[in-house]
Symmetry: D2
C-alpha cells in the first residue's frame, strides 16, 4: 500500500448514515457519495440547481401516467414557481389533470383486480389506479363543448392548451397543471395530442361541426425550435421518456439545423424506467443524444433509472427547500402564450418559419 493511489481512486464512497428527522434535501445531499441510482438521483438535484442558477430555458417533458398517479400537483408547483419554463406533455397527463381540476378523482386500486368486473361497472384501470369511465365521457363532452367555442382555424397545441387552461381556470378556479400553466404563462406543447382523450374531445367537436378541432402540430415544431434559437441556452428534464423526450431533443436539433450556433441542451436530467439496449427512444442514453447534437458535448447530465412516483416527490421537496432564492432570482424567460403567436420576452415568435435569434 506504500504506492501512490491511482488517479481513479480519489473520491471514496461515503456510506449513508441513518439519522432521524432528516429532510428530503439533506437525504439527497447524503446520497451524493453512494452508488448506483441513489447517487444519480442526488446528482439530478445538483444539476437541476445548476440549471436554475444558469441562464438556461428549462424544458420539462412528462410521459407515463403521472397525473393519474398523484404527481399532478408537483408538476403544478414546478410550473407556478418556475422551476421549469416550458412543458412538453403527453395528452394523457393533461387529460387526467383536467379530470381532477374539474373535481373528479382517481381511486386507489390494485393490479390484481378482476378486469371483467371493472369493465362491467365501467371502471378504467391504470395499473393500481381506477377511474370512472362515465366521468371520462363527461370530460370528453366538456372538451368538445369548449372546442366549439373557439375560432374555426388551426391552433398550435400550445395555443389551444393555453386557452383550455384559461377556460378551466375560469370555470373551476382550481389548481392543476393546465391552470397553473395558464396563470404562470408557461407554454405547454403536446405533439401527440391526437393520441389522447383530449384528442378524442377535439374529434367529438369536429363530429358536431366539421370546421372545428384543427390542431397545427407542425406549427408546434417551428415554435419550439424558435424558443431554442432565441434563448442563450436550454436544458431538458425528462420524466418517463415518450414523445416529450424526443420532441424536446428535436427542438434542439431543428434549431441547430437552422442556426449552427445552437449547440444542444446544456443540461439534461432524465428519470426513466426503460433500458437503453432495446434501441427505443424512451430508454436511449444521454451519451447517444450527444452524437445527434441533441445535447451539447459539454452538457452536465444524468440518467436516473427509477419510477417517477418515487424520484419526483423527493426531488421536488428538496428543491423547494433549498432553491427558493435561486428560483426567485433566476434569469427566466417571460412568455406570453395567449395568442396565435408565442411571445418571449416581448419578442413574437413565428409559428410558420424559423427565425433568426
Amino acid at each position: 500500500m506504500g504506492r501512490r493511489k491511482s488517479r481513479f481512486l480519489r473520491k471514496p464512497v461515503e456510506p449513508f448514515v441513518v439519522m432521524p428527522d432528516v429532510t428530503a434535501d439533506n437525504l439527497l445531499e447524503r446520497m451524493e457519495r453512494i452508488s448506483f441510482q441513489g447517487r444519480n438521483l442526488a446528482t439530478a438535484r445538483r444539476i437541476w440547481e445548476k440549471m436554475l442558477a444558469s441562464d438556461a430555458t428549462i424544458f420539462l417533458g412528462t410521459a407515463g401516467a403521472l397525473s393519474a398517479g398523484g404527481m399532478r400537483m408537483i408538476l403544478a408547483h414546478l410550473i407556478e414557481h418556475r422551476y421549469i419554463d416550458c412543458l412538453v406533455s403527453t395528452g394523457a397527463n393533461l387529460y387526467h389533470d383536467l379530470h381532477e381540476t374539474r373535481g373528479r378523482r382517481h381511486f386507489i386500486g390494485t393490479p390484481q383486480l378482476d378486469d371483467a368486473a371493472l369493465a362491467a361497472e365501467r371502471i378504467d384501470r391504470v395499473y393500481d389506479t381506477l377511474a370512472s369511465e362515465d366521468e371520462f365521457c363527461k370530460n370528453d363532452e366538456w372538451i368538445a363543448a369548449f372546442v366549439l367555442k373557439l375560432e374555426r382555424r388551426p391552433y398550435t397545441s400550445r395555443e389551444f392548451l393555453y386557452k383550455l387552461g384559461e377556460h378551466l381556470w375560469n370555470e373551476t378556479g382550481n389548481r392543476g397543471i393546465l391552470t397553473a400553466a395558464y396563470q404562470a404563462k408557461v407554454p405547454i406543447f403536446c405533439p401527440a395530442i391526437a393520441d389522447s382523450s383530449i384528442g378524442m374531445g377535439l374529434s367529438q367537436a369536429r363530429h358536431r361541426d366539421q370546421t372545428a378541432g384543427y390542431v397545427d402540430v407542425i406549427g408546434d415544431i417551428i415554435e419550439s425550435a424558435n424558443v431554442v434559437i432565441r434563448r442563450p441556452s436550454t436544458a431538458t428534464i425528462v420524466l418517463g421518456g415518450g414523445t416529450p423526450k424526443n420532441f424536446i431533443n428535436q427542438a434542439s436539433v431543428q434549431a441547430e439545423f437552422y442556426d449552427d450556433r445552437v449547440g444542444g441542451h446544456k443540461f439534461a436530467i432524465q428519470i426513466v424506467t426503460d433500458a437503453p439496449y432495446y434501441g427505443g427512444a424512451s430508454g436511449s442514453s444521454l451519451e447517444e443524444a450527444q452524437s445527434w447534437g441533441k445535447l451539447s458535448i459539454e452538457s452536465e447530465k444524468v440518467t436516473v433509472h427509477c419510477d417517477v412516483t418515487i424520484a419526483l416527490p423527493l426531488l421536488a421537496t428538496a428543491l423547494d427547500t433549498t432553491s427558493k432564492d435561486t428560483v426567485h432570482k433566476r434569469k427566466r424567460p417571460e412568455f406570453d402564450p395567449s395568442g396565435r403567436l408565442l411571445v418571449v420576452n416581448g419578442h413574437t415568435l413565428a409559428d410558420n418559419r424559423y427565425q433568426e435569434p
Copy 2:
C-alpha cells in the same frame, strides 16, 4: 399419488428437444409447451394465425427503432402480403424506412463508441447503429420539397403518408414500408408525426411557404375509429408500445363510445420490453386494456416480453411458412387510401364525423 390429479395439473410442460435443421415454424410449434416468454412467443404465432383465419381487420402498431434496426423489410412483407391491414407507426420508423428506400443506409456500430467523436463527424447513433446526419438533412429537404407540391390544405397523416409513399415509389421504385403500403393500399396512421423527422420536413416546407405543411391529426382519430365501427371485428398487434399502441386502443374506445355494439379488439398481441408496474402505457397489460373496453373481455391475447429484433424475424418467418394459404383466403378489408377520405370496401369513411356502420 393415488389421488386424482388436480384440475390445475392437466397439461404438462414438454421440454424442448434439440434437433438439427428445424425451421422457424417448427421451432415455435415446439415452444408452445415450454414456459415463460418462449411459450408466449409461440402463443403469439397461434393468435396471429387465428386473426388471419377470422374476419378481423388487423392493426399493427410499430414503435422503437425498428427500421434503423433492420426490421423494415419484415414490415414491408407483412404489408404486401396482408398479414396486417392497417399500420399505425411512430414517425421515426417511417423516416428511417424512407432513408433506406432512398438508397441510404444505417450502419453497424457499438454502444461503446465515443459520442463526441461521432458528433464531430456528424454521425448519429441509435444504440449500436449509426447513420449520417448529412444524409438525414437531405432527407428532410426531400420531404419538404415533396410537401410543397401538395395542395394547400390539411391532410390527415393517413392521406399524407399515402402520397409520400406514392412519391417515394415513383422516384425510387424501391421496396420499403411506405412504398409497400402505397402499393398494397394499406393505410398508415402516424398520430405523433410532429415528433419525428417527417414532422421536421413538414415544418421546413412551412418555413418556405407558410400555407404548407398542415397535418390534420384529429381527422386521423375519426377515421381510425370509423374503420373500427365499420368492421365486423378488429385485432391489434403491437411492437414496442408507444403512441401506436394507445392510438389503436383509442380507436376501439372511441368507436364503442359512438356505437356500443363495438366491443373492443377481439385479438391482441403485444411484444414489448417495458414493465407494467410503473404505470406507463407502453408496458401496460392486456388485462388492464380489457377494463377500458380497448380489448374484448373474451379476446384472445398474449404479451411477449422480448426485443422485437429477436421476436419478429422468428414470428414472421414462421407465418410465411405456414400461413400463406390462410392469408390468401382471408376476409380482409380492401382500402383505398389515395383520397382525402378513406374508402373501405367501396364505402367512403368520413374524416370529420363518426359514422353509422
Copy 3:
C-alpha cells in the same frame, strides 16, 4: 353522477403536495395515497412498522452490491437497533463490508471508464464504483489467516460469520455489518458463501492447511428452519433478491414440512429490480410465494420495484424517525450466535436435526 359510487371507487388518490423541509417519514406518509412504486414504497414502511409491533422474528435478505454501494452503515444500523433479527446475505455484501471495516474504501467512478485501463492499474469496477484489487487480495489473506486460527471442524456459515465479526471487532473496533451483528448478537447466514471472496479466503486457508476452511451450509438450512419452527411468527424483508430471498423462504417451507402449524411468513417486503415474467426467483411475485406456503395466505405484503440505493435510505430514515419506541418495546428474540449451536431465548437449537417447537 347521481348514481351511487362503485365499491371499487372508495379511496381517492391524493396528489402529492410539495412543501419545504419535509422529513423522510412525512414524505412517505404523503406517498401512501399516490400510485405505482411510490405508493408501494410508502406501504413498505407501514408493513415494516407492523412487523415491529408484532411478535414476528424479522429476516432481512441482502443481495446486490449494497456494501460497495454505500448501504452498509444502514444495514449496520438496522442490526444494532434491531429493526431486524436475522440477516441472510450474499458473501459479497459481507466481504465489501469487511473491506471498509478494515479501513479500506470503495471509490466513486463512472460506468463509462475504460476497463482495460482499470485492469492495467488493478482496479475492479462495480458499475460506477471502484476498488483496489491489491487491497482485496490483502483482505483474502487476512480472512485466510483468521480461518487458520479456528478449530478444524465444519462451521455453519452462521457460526463462522459470528466469529469473523468478533475477530474484526477485536482487531478494528469499527462499526459495520459484521461487527454490528457480532455486538447485537444477530445471526448471519450466508448460504452461497462459496460464491464470494469470503469463500476465496476460506479456500486459501485450505491451501495452506488441508484440514481448514470447512463450512457446513447444510447445517445452516436446519438451523434457519429451526428458528422459524420455534418462533410464534416470522417476517421477511428482501433487498435485491438472489439466494437470500430464496433461503428465507426455504426456511419457511422446510419448517412447515416439519411442523404444519407453521404457515409461512406473516409479513413480506421485497425491494427488487427484476421482473416476474422471466420466471427467475429474484423477480418472483409475493403472490406466487403464497402458493408454495413461503408466505401465509393472509400475509401483509408489498413489492417495491426500485433500486435499493434509492428506496433504503428513505425507508430507514423514516423508520428511525417514527419507530424508535416501537423498536424499543418489541417482542424480539434474543439470540446467542457465539457457539456451535445457535441459542434463541435460552433454548439451544440443533444444527443437525429439525426440532419440535
Copy 4:
C-alpha cells in the same frame, strides 16, 4: 455526399428479409447484420462456434427456472454432445431436472391463477408453471435416502452431484441434466446448493443421521480454479446470471491470483434479463468483468438481453445444425468426476490446494 465515408460507416445494416422454411441457423445468420438484441443473439452463435473451434474449456452457468420452464433437455443435449465442458448451476435447476427424470412433470399454468386456491391444493407456482408439492416432498425424501447411502465425509458438490446423477441413471435410465452429465462425465458445480431443495434433501438426511449430508463447497472453489489453471484457455456461457455467473468468473480470478499466466476467460456469452445499472452481479456488463480480470481484455464477448426460453431453443438448434463436425473434432478436456478428486485428462486435481499447471 462527395466526401469519403467516415471510418464509422463501413458496414451497413442489412434488413432482415422474410422467406419461408428458414432454419434456425439461417435465421441467426441473417440476424447478424440487424441491430439491438437480435444482432447480439446472432453474435452469440458465432462466439459459441469460435469457442468450439478453439482449445477453450467451456463453462456453462445456469440460473433461473430453466428446468421447470422446459429447457432441461436442451441442457442435456449440450452436455451429451459436449457443446460445453463443465456446468455450474443453481440447485433449483438440478432439482427440477431430477423431478422430471424421476418421471414427474411440471404443468402449464398462467400467472393469473389464484394462489390461495393453488396453496389449498398443494400446488406450487413458478410464474406460469405449476407442480405438485406432494411430489416435491417425495423427491426430497428420495434425495435424503440416497444421501444416507453415501460415505460419512464431506463431498464437494461436484462429487456429490456426479453420484446423484449416477444413482438417478441407475434407478430411472432416463435422460436429463444430471444423468447426461453422469454419462458424459461432465462435472457439475453447485456452489449455492444450500439454497435449494437438493440442500433440503441433504438436510433431511442429516435429520435422520447427524453424520450425513456434509457438502464441501469450499473444495468446489479450489477444484474449479484448478480446472482453469490447468487449461490452455477457458470460456464462459451464462444463462440468467445468479451464483453460477459469479462462480465461473471467480474461478478465473482465483486462478489468476495463484498463477498470473492465467488471464481471464477468452470468450464470454451471457443471456440475461437484468440491467447493469442497479449494480447487481446478474446484470453486470462483460466490460466490467474485464476490469477484474474475470475476462481477458482481448476476449470476444456478447451480452444478449433476452429471456433464455426464447434465446436458447434458437441458439441450440442452430448449433446442432452447423457445428456437429466442429464439436466432434474439438480439443475438449476429458474429465473423470467420479472420485473424491476430479481428474482432467488423466491428471488428478486437488480439492484442498491450488496446483501448478
